[in-house]
């Protein structure tokens, strides 16, 4: 929160202040500190993102401003979650400041889904919900594990395939062992045998170790296969022309 040199930062600040109670020119200036620049605040007004009550100095969002603020906060706090929970980085605050400038909603929603739609950031502040949370995407609370850690008859949705050998990677890809697809373990000895897209495939430990999955609970398995992928919702943003089909 050191660089208060863009309007974005101010919009974010407004959100935080509103969370705390109320936002006004005074509290905003206070919050920003010595670098406070009245011009940036004016920029927000000019862009019709905030309204400032002339008498009280109270700041409120316009519809558009709120949307932007919401997205910034959401991105920021989800990033904090990622850095703090998953990557276990202590200085998550700083890095999260960089993340908040990502405006690609799909990417943020993906991150949100990955983390399991967390409701609060590591400091306890609420994370604004996204489309993905509203649609109640099924998600996996546990961090991803390699196939080696699954027991027979357990299933997992592939999170990533960490394989350096391009030939092997291609083989796996053709067998549809790739992110998003569900695999089920049938056997672990003498070789690991999994089922993926109707095929039974035997793997050795090395390859199995390179496939990371999110373990699925039994009831999730039932519906999972046929749920529309999150890519499909792209249509709602009016980008139908860009659809592949």
């Amino acid at each position: 929160m050191d660089r208060f040199n863009t309007a974005d930062e101010y919009i974010e600040a407004v959100w935080i202040l509103l969370e705390r109670g109320h936002a006004s020119l005074e509290t905003l200036a206070d919050y920003v500190g010595s670098e406070y620049d009245r011009n940036l605040t004016q920029e927000l007004v000019d862009r019709k993102l905030i309204y400032i009550d002339e008498e009280s100095g109270e700041i409120s969002y316009s519809g558009q401003g709120e949307e932007i603020g919401r997205n910034i906060i959401r991105a920021h706090r989800l990033a904090e979650r990622l850095l703090h929970d998953v990557l276990k980085i202590d200085s998550y605050e700083l890095a999260a400041c960089e993340f908040e400038h990502i405006i690609d909603t799909d990417l943020i929603d993906a991150l949100c889904t990955l983390l399991g739609h967390p409701r609060t950031c590591p400091d306890g502040l609420p994370i604004p919900t996204g489309e993905c949370c509203r649609r109640e995407q099924k998600t996996f609370r546990s961090p991803s594990l390699s196939l080696l850690e699954l027991k027979p008859e357990e299933s997992g949705r592939v999170a990533a395939v960490h394989c350096n050998d391009s030939h092997q990677l291609q083989l796996l890809e053709l067998l549809q062992i790739r992110p998003g697809v569900v695999v089920q373990v049938h056997q672990i000895s003498p070789s690991i045998v999994i089922e993926c897209d109707g095929s039974n495939i035997a793997l050795d430990e090395e390859i199995a170790a390179s496939v990371y999955v999110w373990r699925m609970n039994r009831d999730q398995r039932v519906k999972k296969e046929a749920e529309p992928s999150r890519i499909e919702k792209r249509g709602r943003k009016g980008s139908r022309k860009r659809r592949f089909l």
């Binding site: 070789s191 109707g198 039974n200 035997a202 050795d204 398995r221 992928s229 592949f244």
Partner: protein, 653 residues
Amino acid sequence: MVKQSTETRKACIIGLANSGKTQIFNQLTGDYNLVANYPMTTVELATGSFDFKGVRWKLFDSPGVNALGENSAEELLVRRTLVAERPEVIIQCIDSNRIRQSLRLTSELLELEIPMVLSLNAIDETAKKGYTIDAERLSRVLGIPVVKTVAREGVGMYDLKEALFQAEVPGSRIAYSEEQEAALSAIEAHLPPTLISKRKVALQLLLGDSHVPEIELNSKVYGEAAQAADDIQEVVAETRKQVKGEIQLHINRARAKWTDELYSRIVSGGAPRKQKRDSAARLAYYSRHPLYGLVFLAALLAVTYVGVVVVAGRISGFLEDTLLIPAVAFLEGAITAPMLQDVLIGEFGLLTLGLFNAIFTVLPILSVFFLIFGVIEDIGYLPNLSVLLRRFFNKIGLSGRAIMPIILGFGCKTMATLTTRSLSSRKERLIAIYLIAFALPCSPQLALNIAILGKAGIIPLFIAGLFLILVEVAAGKVLNLVIKDDGASSFIQELPPFRRPIVREVLKKTLFRLWWFLKEAIPVFVGAAAVLYVMDLIGFLDLLKGVLRPVVVTWMGLPIEMVEALILLIAREEAAAGLILRLSDAGMLTAVQSIIAVVVTTMFVPCFANVVAMFKEAGPRAGAAMLLAINASTIFLAGILNWILLAFQGMLG
């Protein structure tokens, strides 16, 4: 009435392995082509035809593929066929059980820009699994006819034939990233205008393929394309710089996205909560089980033993009594000239050692064995065997991928040697080639060895088998230590489902193999017999026997007649085995000698075709070194075994 001349059109069936392509082919053409539940069975392309609504459709079957790139020989074969035949329609046989993999293939096929028809095969099995596929929607989205079929029951065949007339170039397209699309357009601009499947060709060029059959095989465009090669390479190099990471990964991602989107639109329902394993799946599971799997294998080996020793032995005996002995007697009577008699039906008679040996001795054994092996192959057992043996293979320096070539070695060593090409690690290739050539008995060898030892009893069989396994393992370990490590490839093996053997197919395959044996082997049998005859005549054989006596008799404990077998061995293993069988029948071989004979013939000098393949795959130097090592160690080890067994026998009194 004037007879209309029938128009001829061509169609090609393409699909995943074991998706039912050949069944569709058979249903449509009424032809019976080979189907085996084993990857890589349709090695050559089968063609057939059928007439429908005034058109003669020429149909091409193809080997199973998952993609249309350079990933495998099958893929290149399919592409070459498409260039050579220029079919009007491509029928994609979609396995409804493997929708995603099938759709991925669809994504590649539609880039060919050839009219298509989809056969949504095995559609009945989806209901069992609790999900449905919306064929109408699929048809709408892709803009091509989609026919639901159950090929093994002949359902949907008429509709499929009709659909051929409505085939269209699919309207859907995979959209790649901006840079890639720009690159593709640029490359396409440089390609000769008459080239079909330009987008596909451009894509493969972008990926940096070294083989592009669409250009290489098309003489009309080759010249033009060659001229544009530099420009095209420039575009490729530029794009490589712009695109972050491997282009292949980006392409994969785009395809994956397309596949997922299409999947979500046409598939509904989900796997039922408790999916009962059907009996085929259960059998497959047990065949791979660490414990039951071994029991299963032992049972199969036992069946093979009984079949080859008992059943084939009886058949052989019967044939000999009813056909051979009267024939020889007749010939003895008919041919009076002693010289001729000697040549034809003497000790090295062209007929006795050559033809009759092949037919009466070897053929019954091969027939039974091929039948049993054919069934094992057809039910889909072999890939599962590789699962079972993998750990064992790792101990001798072979990764999982080498298992299949070695198992194939039990079928035919020459073919197995050629498939070692698929191993990416040179070290593994060398080890695999050596082990295949060394103590591994190929189908005929295995059959004949079992027959020879069977006469001596089950313990000799066991001892010989154990010895060969130990020798192979030791050889593997030695090679593993000696050859420099270079990162062995990992084990990914697709396991086709178990299924009931199709009797007609097994029989057909057996007959095919027997026919091939007769065609290839008999001339060699006869030729080898001729060589022996001449050698005997000029006294060279006796000379050779004298020279080799210390090795053959003293060291290895075999009767001196074995020299003849060794000579035959160079030509063909079955000829040697046939001779040994006759020696055994005549009571000239003790149990120990049978063991040594079998062991020697299995290990010594692989057959000529195999040697050629060895040199081809391993290179001349490595090949020569291996050959030397194989023969030297054979003589050495066989002798040692002989002395051990004799000592043992002595101890037992």
